[in-house]
Subunit: 233 residues, 2 copies
DNA sequence: CTAGACTGTCCCATATCGCGATACTAACGT
DNA sequence: ACGTTAGTATCGCGATATGGGACAGTCTAG
């Protein structure tokens, strides 16, 4: 490698993959984006194509290929990975169950949990798909959903547009015995680096222990945990 | 490259990616799987790691990385790509609307459509999320769903376990005015290469034109189209 | 506690392999 | 027919990836 001057094939391959994944890319665009000479870019792209990492559309432009999808299928969800760090911390701080929900259509899916080791506690199974019409997590996800989904959810929800407006203003939501009798919860939005709300993080437990205003106690911790998640995306 | 004898870096990179994506892989396993010398495998894996295509878990084993997920996010769904070829053919043969549905939790999503250009026709919007409780497509997806989902769907469905058993026996399903008044449809399961049912392909149209036994007319064409889809995955 | 057998990491002379200027071909638009 | 753009094939040079081997931690067994 002489003096560690030039860039290696690997860097070029990654550059080509990135370029082709950003948008369907013709050879010339590929060269512009990557700064590679035409012959080089062509050779790499054709190589990637034969391996199935790229494929060509009708106009001969390169797009991500089927193998890429197959490889990423087993890829870990960065949000879940971050949750493995953050959720237990929040559980230890609050002593209550903590969940992470992601919106999926008009339902939400529990993608991570952390529960106290013993005693009376609220359990949401990992992977459970539950209603978007009730609960603090549902309010948060709906409050920042696109308008069409919002309308559809509100049609069958226990909360109103006014409640959602308040959630957006406050930055968190709470609920008492909405989703489950005897259970209260607080939730905060989790944002990606770009600021989009990608999930809701919740603390939930028996009303007797949590009290009727769980937000007063835990909204701060919750928002902090949400920021910690964002930082690790 | 002399006489095109040896394998190039690109091949090695792909081999490493495949190995690490199949399962969390330590260096030694990586060498066994790929046949590469330790130093080479190590250098490539570390390179891929710095680029974010791979990452390491707590035990130092390599797993697919965040960049891989990001690249594949824009990757085309192979099923949708195949549908772009197959669905119009089936529409032309039948003269009716054709849809492709994928199961998603307790609902189904329309991931591809092909409709006759004019006249009375059934329209399902692309991306529409519709019920799993009624319609021939719902029967097919439920018939081959996992037992837990099956039970959950049947609780709110218009069809019975006996109907599903018949669907599995026949290999296709039909329905009359279940999902939508005046609309009849036939559906067949679409399998991946491994034989798992990954989607349902449907023909639907007005009962007046389609008749009360749409399966008699189109089950054959439908099964053929399903096979064509499988072949292109 | 030590020997032994593992791991993952780093180094460096070597020849292999990728490089890219150049030339060729195809498909346009004028 | 001509120029201009696109993608593709060629080929000798030399930069670059290679992999044997050394090194350093880590675990197991005796």
């Amino acid at each position: 490698m002489g003096q560690s001057s030039g860039i290696g094939v690997l860097d070029k391959v990654v550059a080509v993959l990135k370029a082709a994944s950003a948008a369907p890319t013709a050879l010339t665009d590929l060269c512009d984006t990557t700064g590679l000479p035409r012959a080089t870019a062509h050779r790499l792209a054709v190589g990637l194509e034969t391996h199935g990492l790229l494929q060509r559309d009708g106009q001969g432009r390169w797009r991500p290929g089927p193998l890429l999808a197959a490889l990423a299928a087993h890829a870990p969800d960065p949000l879940v990975a971050a949750a493995a760090d953050v959720l237990p911390q929040l559980r230890d701080r609050t002593g209550e169950s903590v969940q992470l929900y992601r919106a999926d259509g008009m339902t939400r899916v529990c993608i991570a949990v952390a529960e106290p080791p013993a005693g009376l506690r609220d359990t949401v199974p990992l992977g459970a798909r539950i209603s978007m019409g009730a609960g603090s997590g549902a309010k948060v996800l709906t409050a920042w959903a696109d308008p069409a989904t919002q309308r559809a959810v509100l049609a069958g929800a226990v909360f109103t547009p006014q409640v959602l407006a308040q959630v957006r203003r406050r930055g968190w939501a709470q609920s008492l015995a909405e989703r489950e009798p005897g259970v209260a919860s607080v939730s905060a939005p989790v944002r990606d680096r770009a600021g989009n709300v990608v999930a809701a993080i919740s603390v939930s437990g028996p009303t007797d222990r949590i009290g009727r205003r769980p937000g007063d106690r835990w909204a701060g911790d919750l928002l902090q945990a949400a920021e910690a998640l964002t930082a690790r995306l």
